[in-house]
């Protein structure tokens, strides 16, 4: 900035009546379900639960109130309407997955505080400086890799300034350069794809294992199990989506010298690794090792390891409570609470089973068709609402479907929904990663949609093939 006086901020608050309208619609739907006659095969509580599910869908899709507040509302409305006792609702917070989430967020905040995530990102990127095409593959792989160890949205926020600085140094004109478009889309898609890989990448993953552990009998999935199930999808999807981007936006840039220079500049700026940064790295590696080898329930479990890592970070002075307050999004825990109680309510009242029965009475019972429908529907829903919201709404239905269709286990249905739920490629509003990278100005909504449609179609095929041949065929889940 040559002259700071040139920068000013206009005052233009954006008001909207839409929020009030959607809140009214949500409550009207619930009231309608409350007063309507109960259909055959469904209990009165089940009917109200379906109303709560619809209300949740409206609130989570249109977001007239924060997602976390909608989560709280869903929790309290169940005991208020007498569907589930308050004790049952709040006991779901005792779930391991909640504390795993808290621990994982504290670990991620230590990475962010000491800029270790930036160092890892730059190191990774520096291996891909051969050509512009390879460089974009580097961006995508680096984002995916980092999303294995920290939440995807944090990774998108980290990569935005790194990639933007490189593009500025290369004098890439926003929206006009295909290289600029691909680079930013690689950040958005890389984060989404990477977030499928481990339980840390997206909050919907711990939510899924939380749902499964609440089943009767419980299904227990540890850190390594999740990697075993999800990694083939990550490894197939990443290069294919990258190829789609290359075909959709042929790169016009041939010289990568200024990008190399900028990465070197940024590496120089990060300086030598400091003691506390090293401590965070050691704790991170230690935690991942424990998660991979000792997170089964006969050993320590996921949450104990995550909280152990948090305690170690405090004891080593790497993080303070102020950092936790600044960087741990407590709202997601409340959203989690709403989502998990929604699942418990749907299961206990028989609403999920009734809904699944209704769906498959209409379309018939076919294993492959059911898998395909679950994938397509989840991908469509996750593109118009928050990922975790889409997974929270569809998981209870998916688990009920598992009881109706021979060949679909609750674990299979959950994995299909959880992993499809992370693949929101088409719209800016689909995921914060898309919105963050879109705000850089390097691609248009049309570019995102164009690439996203093809990428999502490929993803549907990949998940279907993996579900049929790997999950059912090899792992027999």
């Amino acid at each position: 900035m040559k002259d700071d006086n040139r920068f000013s901020k206009s005052k233009n608050p954006i008001y909207s009546r839409r929020n009030v309208i959607f809140i009214v619609i949500a409550f009207l739907l619930l009231s309608l379900f409350y007063i309507l006659p109960t259909p055959d095969g469904l209990s009165h509580d089940g009917k109200i639960m379906l109303g709560i599910l619809l209300m949740a869908a409206v609130l989570w899709i249109t977001e007239p109130i924060p997602l976390a507040v909608a989560g709280l509302l869903i929790m309290i409305i169940q005991p208020l309407l007498g569907v589930i006792p308050a004790d049952d609702v709040f006991s779901s917070f005792g779930n391991q997955a909640v504390f795993f989430l808290i621990g994982a967020f504290i670990l991620a905040s230590a990475l962010e505080k000491h800029n270790l995530h930036r160092r890892i990102a730059l190191k990774f990127l520096s291996y891909f400086e051969k050509s512009p095409r390879i460089f974009t593959l580097g961006i995508m792989s680096s984002c995916a890799f980092l999303s294995f160890v920290m939440p995807e949205h944090g990774v998108a926020a980290l990569f935005l300034p790194i990639v933007a600085s490189i593009l500025i140094a290369m004098k890439v004109i926003p929206k006009q350069s295909n290289f600029g478009k691909i680079s930013m889309l690689c950040v958005a898609y890389g984060c989404s794809i990477g977030s499928l890989g481990t339980l840390v990448g997206g909050a919907r993953n711990p939510l899924t294992i939380g749902f499964l552990s609440n089943l009767d009998p419980p299904i227990l999935v540890n850190f390594f199990d999740w990697i075993k199930y999800s990694m083939p999808i990550v490894l197939i999807t990443l290069p294919l989506v990258w190829l789609i981007l290359q075909v959709s936006f042929p790169i016009e840039i041939k010289d990568i010298t200024s990008a190399k220079k900028e990465i070197n500049n940024q590496v120089t700026l990060t300086g030598k690794m400091r003691r506390k940064e090293l401590s965070v790295l050691i704790i991170l590696l230690f935690t991942i090792t424990l998660w991979i080898f000792f997170s089964s329930y006969q050993y320590f479990g996921l949450a104990v390891i995550a909280i152990l890592a948090s305690v170690l970070l405090f004891l080593s002075g790497c993080i303070s409570w102020k950092d936790v307050e600044q960087r741990v999004p407590w709202g997601i825990i409340l959203l989690y609470g709403g989502a998990i109680t929604l699942g418990i309510g749907m299961q206990k009242t028989g609403a999920g089973a009734w809904l699944a029965h209704l769906i498959f009475d209409t379309i018939g019972i076919n294993l492959y068709l059911a898998i395909l429908i679950m994938i397509v529907f989840t991908i469509l829903l996750t593109n118009v609402m928050s990922n975790i919201g889409a997974v929270a709404i569809l998981l209870p239905i998916g688990l009920a479907i598992a009881t109706e269709i021979p060949g679909i286990s609750p674990l299979l249905a959950s994995m299909i929904i959880a992993l499809s739920g992370g693949l929101a490629f088409m719209l800016v509003i689909a995921t914060p990663g898309n919105a963050i990278t879109y705000s850089s100005g390097y691609y248009s909504t049309r570019d995102l949609f164009k690439a996203g449609v093809f990428a999502n179609i490929i993803c549907i095929a990949i998940i279907f093939v993996v579900a049929v041949f790997y999950w059912i065929g090899v792992l027999h889940i």
Partner: protein
């Protein structure tokens, strides 16, 4: 005619064509140029809102700061750098500003603060750019699409004030040395008349609109301007005529939108013409 030109560039869309046209106009009219780079508030707010539950306010603020910083650097190192090559090196007066806000509001505020004769902007249909601007400012708006033909199509119609169109068209054709053609479109899909203040009348019989159009053509002929009468929709006939003469610039009076029914927005012909065409458009009152 255009002594003071405002060029608003949105963080959503930047095209060098706008700067090239700015130079062309500034050299013809000895104009001063004000270039403002607008960091789109709407985009930033959307990113904030979506991140709300996943990231803390501290982190969201950090990211927002980074995004704004990158936009400022983009403006400095790419757009203002280009502007320096285009304007300053040619001795054209240039003022630069960076403003965060909503495009139309920022431009409107700027026009209220300082006297401008023309707004020169680019456009792209697939971004969040709001064309409310076309309805809310009174000075001429030039939407640049590039192209290097040498012909002007002046469009008058029953849906827009027509007084200024012939005057400005003739002056621009003479200044640029471009060929001028004029059409008067009687829009039969919206059979009202718009007066010079932009007020829409009640529905009028088609015959009356055609006879008024013919009178307008006669007046133009007396002034030595070649003009013809066309019946059809303003949007379609404008596009057709522009394609026929391979127009580089279409000068058109600002049509007034139909009243809203039950609060639902009516189609904006201005916006649709701007989005569909391959030529530049100058909207005037």
């Amino acid at each position: 005619m255009f002594n003071n030109i405002l060029i608003p560039v949105s963080s959503e869309y930047y095209s060098k064509e706008v700067l090239k046209r700015g130079v062309f106009l500034a050299q013809k009219f000895k104009s001063k140029i004000t270039l403002i780079y607008i960091i789109e508030e709407k985009t930033l707010k959307q990113a904030d809102k979506l991140s709300d539950v996943y990231r803390t306010h501290y982190e969201i603020a950090e990211t927002k700061k980074e995004i704004i910083k990158k936009h400022q650097i983009t403006a400095d190192s790419i757009i203002f750098e280009d502007a320096k090559i285009f304007f300053k090196n040619k001795g054209i007066f240039l003022q630069e500003k960076i403003i965060e806000g909503e495009y139309s509001t920022v431009v409107k505020n700027e026009v209220n603060k300082q006297k401008y004769d023309l707004i020169l902007m680019g456009f792209e249909k697939e971004c969040f750019l709001n064309y409310r601007l076309l309805d809310t400012v009174d000075i001429p708006i030039w939407i640049e699409s590039g192209g290097d033909n040498n012909s002007i199509l002046a469009v008058c119609s029953n849906l827009a004030p027509n007084k200024q169109v012939p005057i400005i068209s003739v002056e621009l054709a003479e200044t640029f040395g471009w060929k001028l053609e004029m059409i008067y479109i009687v829009d039969i899909t919206d059979s009202v008349e718009v007066d010079e203040k932009g007020i829409r009348s009640d529905k009028k019989p088609e015959k009356l609109l055609i006879s008024k159009g013919q009178r307008f053509i006669e007046e133009m002929k007396k002034k030595g301007i070649k003009a013809r009468l066309v019946k059809g929709s303003l949007e379609r006939e404008t596009t057709k005529a522009a394609e026929t003469i391979n127009a580089n610039l279409v000068i058109i009076g600002r049509q007034r939108k139909k009243e809203k029914i039950l609060g639902l927005p009516m189609k904006s012909i201005k916006k649709r013409i701007a989005e569909q065409c391959d030529y530049s458009i100058l909207f005037i009152n």
